[in-house]
Subunit: 523 residues, 2 copies
């Protein structure tokens, strides 16, 4: 299937739009059985009204709807009650009451997750964290007798403490005022909340440079299923005193506790940001370019994103965006978006210049462009960022977020091409964070076809599993991937996960049907 | 107490040496009560002889001695049996047998710990990990059909997988051959083993730049108390599938399981390393220099170490080392050792040049020297590294490894000076990883005096606790700090730690009397 043919097919259907109809109820589509939880009674609602006041208790069916459907519209729950606590104590009281009354709950952050983890499956009570959105001054935590921190002191400390409901972008803007930034950045930054990022161990665009949240979260506060508040709100870079409990809550998707506060280390804002777009003619050369970038750009390399021709074509065609690379009229088989962030404009440009020179001399790249002009930088990033949105216009899209050792990174696309020789397929495309070994695979067809689904799944997960890859690199397990968990984790791990869950939440009230399913719950 | 007086006092006793006599038995000195464990019988020894062969079972009292005494000679156990497994299966069989027979064990790595965590307290069986020292080729783990990795492929992948008993320095040397390095570096690198580093979440000299082991360990394999092998040997940078269990084993000091294998991400080896030694006249200026370094050196800053006058004087006087700063004959009140690691010699020198220029212009530093000459770099690092060794020659030294928010960093020294106006005190000195908020406090006296001990403890821990600091920044809790755990961790955390311990090791056989003490053990 040549790119040219795909492009034609694509143009044919490009007028299609996703319908705005609601997804089917999760319980119907996926045939899930409701767990042994109590039903919400008027007495329960009265308790919550008393605790939070009526304007923070939503019991109206229409108002609840937005909390029942996820961003990607793949799942739909049937909750009839949404609670909006403002304090850790309220979260604690809610959970204690729910645990004693065997009421299941679904913690909800920005609801931007892609695996159905953030909405209920049945009638779980939604606990929305949006109202816990205060930034906490560091001096409230420590009797340093320093008063409110000056910008210089804040910068030197490099630690932000805040409630779980703060919007990621707001935090980044706040930090910008003192010359710092968040160590994490996501497409969803305008709506995702930091508590959700932490609970899902969100990855994103800065991971290559700054590492993941297990390394950057210094401390957190969380509430266990029984209402116990676990205060691990450490703000120190080093604290080797006993077990490092915070990691239980990072990436467990709200099934072990609800994160209420977070302390995070924040790197200095770079003074120079440069972006290059490279055109290459094979995946082997993409790998060569990556090695060269690791050697030549080393400490200033902040992104290394790969797109195959069929991915970037989506941005060119659907959105009519222009390619900044013009040497070949028919484009390139592979593209690399490479970003550097550093503290010295001239040095970074010199390093990039030398990188490009070597890459050309060694015949690694066919063409390339380099810019620090903010408009051009934005344009190049948009070529990468709009792929995910654009492909949805083609019809139904099977999307996979997988990790594989980078030496086999692109093989997964070749395998799917090999297997899926079906005229209904519009486009098979692969792009992603090559530097992290994380590829996003997209297979688009005009509308959902069960037989194509069964050609793809579980095949793709089995293939990934054979390479010891991950069936969910950054999106998590949520609801939709529970049956594939065993393909990326060993049976010894899954057994221990169940033991941990049982210890932390013996009644299984926290985000049921997610991550570990089915659960053993004491009757 | 002026530095000058201290210096004179110091010269008076500089002929003293630590005696080579063995420390008292831990159980006597600290009045610990033996737990409800079985005693080792001949049948037990026969089982181990059968399993490992006689040359990997040490039952000779004299040979056992080295395994009973720690590096700092502060504790001494009474074990009569040392086992040296070579495989995970052997570790598993040993633990299963010990768990079923209620035999307590003490996992031992390089035995370079400083809090008595790596030697037995009573007759715990020592499980020495020294023989599990193989580097595992990445292609043994994944069916990538790539054969043995070339250096280029190894470099691109940037992941090392090895057994727990590998010596840190050997791993660093191995990685050096392909242009990579370990993300961790310690004074003890020539003898510490990677499994022990992981089990204690060791910090060290590269943490400021590369982050801690929670961020760098990609996966591990560990054996639970009951012999179950938990295979979390993930080698991917991103894998959001279920609970991130590896963190249970990182930093829990062998009380939740024995780490047998590790996969770790490894950064590129820097091409340029520069070191500066700065002289400053107040701690406030040290902080200013740190802020300036964060802004100007940003991504190339790899160490920011502070020494007060009385710390560096140890290196000058005890070892007769020369100061490279000569503008003031009586030296400086504070010194900063600053290191940069980058990929371009010229760029790094320019950045450092600009940093020094600004620091001089703003009157932040009194004097400074800058070098990339390996001999000079080594000399400057030695001034910092020999402090810890040199001070031991003064007699008895109270050493504390604490974290506090860096704005209050040096206050702890001032507080001790205030409190401890005692003519027997030779020297109160502070130095450490300022960039990480980690200070090493040393109080030296000619020989141990209980009344001075009681003036220092628990005062210093209470002071640190009030500032929400850590009573053990990087050394861990081990045996000697168990009674201070509550000063850096909340009661909710300690309760949960006990629950985790009970789940993982219900009989409490793994490294008893350490981290959590006393433990509730089912009788």
């Amino acid at each position: 299937m040549s790119p040219r043919i795909l492009l034609r097919t694509f143009q044919r259907i490009s007028g299609l739009r996703f319908s705005s109809t609601k997804p089917a109820f999760t319980s119907d589509r996926y045939k899930v059985k409701r767990g042994p939880y109590a039903r919400i009674s008027n007495d329960h609602v009265a308790f919550f009204n008393e605790l939070l006041g009526r304007n923070r208790v939503i019991a109206d069916a229409e108002e609840c709807e937005g909390y029942n459907i996820d961003y990607a519209k793949i799942v739909r729950g049937q909750s009839t009650l949404v609670l909006k606590p403002k304090t850790t104590e309220e979260v604690s009281t809610i959970l204690k009451f729910c645990n004693e009354n065997r009421l299941a709950v679904c913690p909800q952050s920005g609801n931007t997750g892609l695996v159905g983890g953030s909405v209920p499956v049945f009638d779980e009570i939604v606990i929305s964290m949006k109202f816990m959105n205060k930034i906490i001054e560091t001096n409230e935590l420590a009797e340093t007798n320093l008063g409110v921190l000056s910008s210089d002191e804040f910068f030197a400390l490099g630690v932000l403490t805040c409630e779980a409901g703060c919007v990621l972008e707001d935090l980044d803007n706040h930090l910008g005022t003192v010359g710092l930034m968040m160590p994490i950045d996501l497409g969803a930054k305008g709506s995702c909340l930091i508590g959700g990022c932490v609970s899902t161990n969100a990855g994103g665009l800065r991971l290559l440079r700054y590492g993941n949240l297990h390394g950057n979260v210094l401390g957190l506060e969380a509430v266990k299923a029984n209402g116990e508040v676990i205060d691990c709100l450490n703000t120190l870079k080093k604290n080797n005193t006993g077990y490092h409990l915070k990691h239980l809550f990072i990436g467990s998707e709200g099934t072990l506790g609800i994160v209420t506060k977070v302390a995070i280390q924040c790197p200095p804002l770079p003074k120079a940001v440069n972006v290059a777009l490279l055109g290459l003619n094979s995946f082997e050369k993409v790998l060569k370019a990556f090695r060269l970038a690791k050697r030549e750009l080393a400490e200033i390399l902040s992104s290394f994103e790969m797109m195959d021709r069929r991915s970037i074509d989506i941005s060119f065609t659907t959105f009519g965006m222009k390619s900044p690379l013009t040497s070949k009229t028919d484009g390139h088989d592979f593209y690399v978006l490479l970003e550097t962030s550093g503290s010295n404009v001239n040095h970074d440009e010199e390093k990039l210049g030398s990188f490009v020179e070597k890459a050309l001399a060694d015949d690694i790249i066919e063409d390339g462009t380099l810019t620090s002009d903010p408009t051009k930088v934005k344009h190049i990033w948009a070529l990468r960022e709009r792929i995910s949105e654009g492909v949805l216009r083609e019809g139904y899209v099977f999307k996979y977020d997988i990790s594989i050792p980078i030496l086999s990174y692109y093989k997964v696309i070749e395998m799917i091409e090999e297997r899926l020789r079906d005229p209904r397929v519009i486009r098979i495309s692969g792009y992603g964070h090559l530097g992290d070994g994380n590829i996003h695979v997209q297979v688009s067809i005009p509308s959902y076809e069960p037989d194509i689904a069964s050609q793809l799944e579980p095949f793709i997960f089995e293939y990934v599993s054979k390479l010891r890859g991950s069936v969910s690199a950054e999106h998590g397990i949520g609801f939709v991937k529970t049956k594939y968990l065993h393909m990326s984790r060993t049976s010894s791990e899954i057994k221990l996960m169940h033991e941990v869950k049982k210890m932390m939440d013996p009644n299984g009230i926290l985000n049921p049907y997610k991550v570990l399913y089915p659960l053993e719950i004491s009757a």
